[in-house]
Amino acid sequence: MFKAALIALLLAAAIPTAHAQAPSRQEAPASGFNPTATEVKEQDLLNALSKVEGRISIPDTRAATLIQPAGQTWRDYRRGPLLWITAAIVLGMMALLTLFYLIRGRIRIEGGRGTRTVLRFGAFERFMHWVTAASWCVLAVSGLNIVAGSRVLLPLIGQDAFSTVSGWLKYSHNFLAFPFTSGVVLMLLVWVRHNIPNRMDLEWFRQGGGLFGHRHPHSRKFNGGQKAVFWIVVLGGGALAATGFTLMFPFYITDVTGMQLAQIAHGGVSLLMIGAMLGHIYIGSVGMEGALDAMNSGQVDRKWAAAHHDLWLAEVDAKSTPSGHPAE
């Protein structure tokens, strides 16, 4: 069951798992030859396949891989580029947002908050969002710890404490994968119909989402930017789940090369998502007045709604008025 699901997920993430067989020697005669002279050289095998594989009698098929120098490439990636990319994305995004805040400041509701609110997200939607968001935060932190904790946290708290903390973070990473994945799946089911991209979104993006200037582009329940966040979460989250479960059930469906690629993919997608989510968190909290309410109480200021989701507000109002006439 699990395995089948994992295979499906993995295929979705398109991680290559197939590996070629070791090249068999040129057809030697079945009898009357010199086996000592028909020796194989390690370098030839490595050149042909980039690893040396053979047969082993124990059930652990991983053990049949004798030498896989790719491990060193992976090491080099982990201790070099990965650290720089992580630093660049996390620190860079934070710097960018700070800069943006300094320039643009908090986006206010035009004319200040009104007195009337409208229900934007119901309890279930909010629950779904926060489960996903909370687990994602822990996943991100624990993931970042795996990548860079020994550089950042270890010098501060010492080896034993760091190992204990990392152990717990590893457990939380493993366990929170499930609520996170469930949240993503639910969001996909509940919100996908609101997130089909259309021409309006192009217009929204052309106008920069109304961030600059005072005219707001039209928008239904989700504007172009929010749709982008949705798809980043769904697709990115899906990829993280696929690669993550591959890593969590090591070697169930792939070999060591697949595991390395899964790990690289998992890390890469995570970092992109971390960058995107930092932006999402910014705009959903300090960046924009009234936005947090949508996921907090669920009730948003009608003025905010009118500004950012005019068409949606109209739809909501139309639904709540049996006569079909606008309420105001």
Partner: protein
């Protein structure tokens, strides 16, 4: 920081010297000494508790802390697996074997082991050993005490004896016995009154012993593992020592490298050994004789034979020439599949790149033509002059750790201990040694005729149970079986064997493990299991394949409730009423016979094989001075063993006081007999059809008779005028032995050793100096001829090369001819088109019960499998790793195993390892084992599928060529 501080300077200097010792010794042939390191070592590592883990789970064995204040005892024993005879170093603390160390000082293994040897410590942890005596009560195992068990068993035995006679009990012994145990078991059968006492040699090298002994005198490896280092050409035909005798490869590969020697492997399978050959030749299974004759054809054609050697030391080579002339390269290729050029190349090496040695194992012996195969091998060696010198010889790799010794000690249905045979003179000899009346022994048997008739061998015992009174040449069929240390999945035709088991009135299995016998049948009662300890839990001597005898000290006390073989035999003899007579000269401590007393009794009686000189004291001195022995010559330098050969390989003539050094290489005329030299044995008369059988112009160094001579008797000494050199005491013994007629007393029955001493003083070999026989006129096929296997994949060859006619052998009919004819008539080869052959895996041994119960080994081979060629697999839609049914040509037999698709086997050939049991024709029998004594790994036995076929000389079974079909398992 957590990192430990290490004294790097000290560390590195230690490392360098250790490395040099462990590895550089490789290049020189020097003797290794790692004792300094061992002495310096402080032992504080933990001992280990019992790990009873179920398959697939992982649990750390509990480590019990060991008090560093308690001293560590270092005990030396010998590996209990194969016949190479690797020394094992045990470190014992508080009576627990806590660590195993590499025995660098052993000239045989120099620290090395194979997977089995490196894991023997587990045997005395015994996680899956049988813990107490058990019996089947209405199909359930029940515990009982030793005394009750032996009381019940002996009562039943005596009842069977009374009702059916002594011949109705089959005494199956073991190559896992020490020499003392094996000897005692044979002696017990004699005191019980039957010759039906056998052991694994029957299914191992019985044909080698018969074939080789009938060629040049003794049925044993002529040289040694170590001596192979001297060879320039090594031909391994029908053996896979890389898996069966891995440590021998140390010597073989060293020889190959140091001499740049040829290593030719001739085998139907491209084995792990073949992977290291310089020449691999694939033959059709069962075509050994044509292959040998294919080589001889080129040798005679090109006049490459050693004419001087043949003229001086070989009888009947011309008869061989006539047979070989029929085997033209074309006919050889038709029958064997090997092109003539390939065999010509090997023939050239054997005659031009000398010394050459021929190494064989079960591939040669386990055939209906086993004896003839072995004879053909010997003839090849004789024709090329490759016997009796360093680097040459028939290097026969025996199987179990003491199969050579157990064979010597007479666990054989055809002979009393040490090849004395069953004639009255032999019985009288042993009666003198045992100090019992000949008439008493006679009274134990049904008749004098039965006393002098070969018993029923282990390959045919179940036929002996299922036979009716008329079809068996003894008073009654077999009713009871006593099994000491023998697996139940080792004989062919297992479905028939199971019927035999079920028909027995009494089955007793004395073994460290329950064995297949305990579970494979539907027996519900009258079945007993007796827990026997391993050889690590007792002491005694064991004879390695090269005839070196090694003394093993007891490492730990027998674990659980197990007892050693000799104690159980004593207790049983007590209950059966002949203990007092049987143990007359053996001291008993408590209930345990003193092992050295048994060795000394062997010394007193085993003149014919050259076992009189190896006293326990001398053997122990060799073990204590191992580092003095050279790795190539096995000769000691210095100390109390100076000049002696390691393990006093037999023949070691004369009394221990004569200090014969043992014979490293048999029939080596380049040495004085007192230095281990020898000649071919005069054993088959003086002449035949006007031709002399004695050597001509060839003699061992220092011989005062510079020509052939018969075996030494008192009459001969008199003729030579040397009788005065006998001491008074010696003369008195000779007179007593001769019963007033000393003339007939020979070197083999003179209990004083005087005849041997005087002969050697004159440079004469006690057994005489004869020619080896290329024509062994007393055998069914005096000159070997090719005969197709009973079940052959080439039925068209049967008309020209049929098996031997039906005949009565060993008290029963051998109907091989009828079975072969029926197989051809019914076109069995069409229904079962794949040749099935069997063999070993390195991780397991024999029936595999012990090794499959050792988790360190069992983990490495968890599935029974069948090797099948990719072509055959493809034709049947079989994928690698898939479950398949292998079906056999008899009894509708079938086995469910994993397919292992590999080019290791040729098209049309399948291979299965023979170590598995516990599954029977698709049924998992794990629940039938006594609780906790089931091996970790179970699997189908190949012998469920193997079929009828017995060598006419020894009743060796056919395990290497039968037919099968393979099909996918439909879910």
């Amino acid at each position: 920081m957590l990192i430990k501080r290490r004294d790097s300077a000290v560390q590195s200097s230690r490392l360098q010297s250790t490395t040099l010792h462990s590895a550089l010794g490789e290049l020189s042939s020097g003797v290794l000494d790692r004792r300094a390191f061992l002495r310096r070592a402080g032992f504080t590592a933990g001992a280990v508790g019992l790990a009873g883990l179920p398959l697939g789970s992982v649990k750390r064995a509990e480590a019990a802390a060991i008090d560093p204040a308690i001293p560590v005892k270092r005990v030396k024993s010998v590996c209990t697996h194969c016949s190479v005879g690797c020394s094992v170093i045990a470190e014992v603390q508080n009576g627990v074997w806590v660590r195993q160390e590499a025995a660098f000082e052993s000239p045989i293994n120099r620290g090395s082991h194979c997977a089995k040897g490196a894991s023997v410590r587990e045997l005395v942890k015994g996680s899956r050993r049988l813990r107490s005596p058990m019996k089947l009560v209405n199909g359930e195992w029940q515990k009982l005490t030793w005394d009750t068990a032996l009381e019940e068993i002996s009562a039943k035995l005596l009842k069977i004896r009374e009702q059916s006679g002594p011949e109705s009990v089959f005494w199956l012994g073991s190559a896992k016995f020490s020499n003392e145990g094996a000897y005692l078991y044979r002696k017990m059968a004699a005191f019980w009154g039957t010759n039906t006492a056998d052991h694994q040699a029957r299914i191992c090298h019985s044909t080698t012993v018969a074939g080789v002994a009938n060629t040049w005198g003794y049925g044993a490896m002529t040289n040694s593992y170590n001596d192979i280092r001297n060879a320039k050409t090594m031909v391994i035909m029908g053996g896979n020592p890389a898996e069966a005798h891995p440590v021998s490869l140390q010597h073989i590969l060293s020889g190959k490298e140091l001499n740049r020697a040829n290593l030719v492997v001739i085998d139907p399978r491209f084995t792990r050994t073949a992977a290291h050959a310089t020449d691999y030749i694939r033959i059709r299974p069962g075509s050994d004789i044509p292959t040998i004759y294919g080589m001889l054809w080129h040798i005679f054609e090109n006049k490459w034979e050693d004419t001087q050697f043949i003229a001086q030391r070989v009888y009947g080579m011309d008869d061989v020439r006539k047979e070989v002339a029929k085997w033209t390269p074309e006919e050889v290729e038709r029958v064997t599949g090997v092109p003539g050029e390939q065999l010509k190349r090997v023939a050239y090496m054997m005659t031009h790149e000398k010394p050459a040695t021929l190494i064989w194992c079960m591939g040669a012996t386990q055939k209906t033509v086993g004896t003839a195969n072995v004879r053909a091998y010997c003839i090849l060696l004789l024709a090329t002059g490759n016997v009796g010198a360093p680097g040459t010889g028939a290097n026969i790799f025996r199987g179990h750790c003491n199969v050579q010794g157990a064979t010597d000690a007479g666990l054989d249905v055809t002979s009393l201990p040490f090849y004395y045979g069953l004639a009255e003179s032999a019985w009288r000899h042993w009666a003198r040694v045992w100090e019992v009346d000949y008439d008493y022994l006679l009274s134990r048997f049904d008749s004098k005729k039965m006393m002098e008739t070969s018993g029923i061998p282990t390959t045919r015992w179940f036929d002996g149970v299922l036979a009716d009174q008329k079809s068996i040449d003894q008073r009654n069929p077999l009713k009871a079986m006593m099994v000491f240390g023998h697996g139940g999945n080792t004989v062919t035709r297992m479905p028939e064997m199971v019927k035999g088991l079920e028909a027995l009135d009494l089955l007793v299995v004395a073994d460290p493990h329950p064995t297949t016998f305990a579970v494979v049948s539907e027996r519900k009662d009258n079945t007993y299991l007796l827990p026997i300890c391993t050889q690590f839990e007792t002491s005694g001597s064991r004879t390695a394949s090269n005839r070196s005898i090694q003394w093993a000290d007891q490492v730990v006390e027998p674990i659980w409730e197990s007892k050693n073989d000799q104690e159980v035999m004593f207790r049983l003899a007590e209950k059966l009423g002949f203990a007092e007579k049987m143990f007359k000269n053996i001291k008993i401590e408590g209930k345990v016979p003193v092992i050295e007393d048994i060795t000394r009794e062997i010394n007193r009686g085993a003149w014919s094989t050259g076992y009189p000189g190896q006293s326990p004291e001398r053997l122990k001195a060799h073990m204590a001075n191992q580092e003095r022995f050279d790795i190539v010559t096995l000769k000691a330098r210095g100390g109390e063993v100076d000049g002696e050969t390691y393990g006093l390989p037999w023949p070691c003539w004369g009394t221990p006081e004569m200090k014969h050094p043992g014979s490293h290489i048999l029939y080596n005329t380049n040495l004085h007999v007192k230095d281990g030299g020898g000649t071919f044995r005069a054993r088959f008369g003086l002449e035949r059809n006007g031709q002399t059988l004695l050597a001509e112009g060839s003699y061992s160094k220092g011989s005062e008779i510079q020509d052939g001579y018969p075996e030494i008797t008192y009459a001969m000494l008199k003729k030579l005028g040397w009788e005065g050199e006998l001491s008074e005491a010696e003369m008195a013994v000779i007179t007593r032995v001769g019963g007033g007629k000393p003339d007939a007393v020979s070197w083999a029955i003179d209990l004083s050793g005087g005849l041997q001493r005087v002969a050697m003083d004159h440079g004469l070999v006690p057994y005489g100096n004869a020619k080896a026989r290329a024509n062994a006129f007393n055998l069914p096929d005096p000159v070997p001829v090719h005969r197709e296997p009973i079940y052959t994949a080439r039925p068209e060859l049967v008309a020209k090369y049929p098996t031997r006619p039906d005949e009565r052998q060993f008290r029963q009919a051998n109907i091989g001819f009828t079975v072969q004819k029926r197989a051809v008539d019914l076109n069995i080869a069409q229904k079962f088109p794949i040749v099935l052959t069997s063999g070993r895996l390195v991780e397991y041994e024999g029936g595999g019960e012990e090794t499959r119960s050792n988790p360190w080994l069992a983990e490495l081979q968890q599935d029974m499998f069948v090797e099948i060629n990719p072509n055959d697999a493809k034709a049947r839609g079989i994928q690698n790793g898939q479950m398949v049914w292998v079906t056999g040509a008899e009894s509708n037999s079938k086995a469910r195993v994993k397919a292992y698709v590999t080019e290791r086997v040729g098209p049309g050939v399948a291979f299965m390892p023979f170590h598995f049991a516990g599954w029977f024709q698709g049924e998992d029998q794990r629940s039938r084992y006594p609780k906790g004594a089931d091996p970790y790994v179970l699997g189908e036995s190949v012998n469920v599928l193997t079929t009828y076929g017995y060598d006419p000389v020894t009743q060796m079974q056919e395990t290497k060529c039968t037919l099968c079909q393979i099909a996918t398992v439909l879910a």
